[in-house]
């Protein structure tokens, strides 16, 4: 049992190591990395701006009222916060969900290559925080924010 675990662990390190090299070597543009592999740098970023930049290649965002976030105002359990995002914008390429005060802000993102501009998931929140939903449409980034109060945190414990 122990040896098997050790194997999978080693394999995992080699694979993620390669992804990191590919991302930093500058051979691949950020958007291409996104399509090919899991955007590790964006998920590991501790700061919101940096995380957005690592995911979308830019942190320049404009506020938009066309993005709708459906989520509870107050979440009793931070481990499960249901979230639904939709927008009336056209040409939506990707949607990213960031929780400002989580240890790593990026919770999840999705690349849309045929699906409608809609995404739903359940996320964890460490404490009361603003959620930033970023929609990439026509090469531009749009943001909508919503603050959710959390009674019991869902990270760590």
């Amino acid at each position: 049992m122990n040896t098997i675990r050790r194997r999978t662990f080693l394999k995992g390190t080699v694979a993620s190591g390669f992804a990191a090299v590919a991302a930093t070597s500058g051979l691949l543009r950020p958007t291409e990395v996104m399509a090919a592999a899991w955007p590790k740098s964006a998920f590991k970023s501790k700061k919101l701006d940096k995380s957005i930049k690592n995911l979308f290649g830019s942190s320049k965002v404009t506020a938009s009222k066309a993005i709708k976030i459906k989520a509870p105002i107050q979440a009793e359990n931070g481990a499960v916060v249901p979230l639904t995002v939709s927008t009336t914008m056209s040409n939506v390429e990707a949607i990213g969900v960031f929780v400002e005060k989580n240890p790593s802000p990026l919770a999840t993102s999705i690349d849309l290559t045929g699906a409608t501009a809609f995404y739903s998931a359940r996320i964890k929140m460490g404490k009361t925080s603003a959620i930033h939903v970023i929609v990439k449409s026509g090469g531009k980034l749009h943001v909508a924010k919503k603050t959710i109060k959390v009674t019991v945190g869902g990270c760590g414990g």
Binding site: I110, F118, Y119, S120, K124
Partner: protein, 103 residues
């Protein structure tokens, strides 16, 4: 270990909604075992790919901040009845799973 992956499709708002539920711990790597004080290693799904009739329609990146037993939903317009929906996912430990259904 094979993990249970379920897909549900339904008509909603003129589009077809695809809901995926995976039985997965989604461990963040930040929690500690109370007895041993050791950190529980991270274990979470990273990629989830949605395909309809063999064509990729969406590609989701998940992080440790997604709740355990993740339920992910997308909507696709203009899907015909009887089209095949295929989901594949993989996590940071190299585990993967897939599920298939028809609309």
């Amino acid at each position: 270990m094979a993990r249970l992956t379920k897909i549900k499709t339904r008509k909603k708002g003129g589009a077809t909604e695809i809901l995926v539920l995976v039985n997965h711990p989604m461990e963040t790597g930040q929690r500690k075992n109370k007895k041993t004080k050791k950190k529980i290693p991270a274990h979470y799904i990273q990629k989830m790919v949605f395909k309809i009739d063999g064509k990729e329609v969406a590609d989701a990146n998940l992080g440790p901040a997604v709740s355990k037993n993740p339920l992910v939903g997308i909507r696709v317009a203009g899907v015909k009845k009887g089209a095949s929906v295929k989901i594949t996912w993989s996590d940071n430990k190299g585990e993967s799973g897939k599920a298939q259904t028809t609309v």
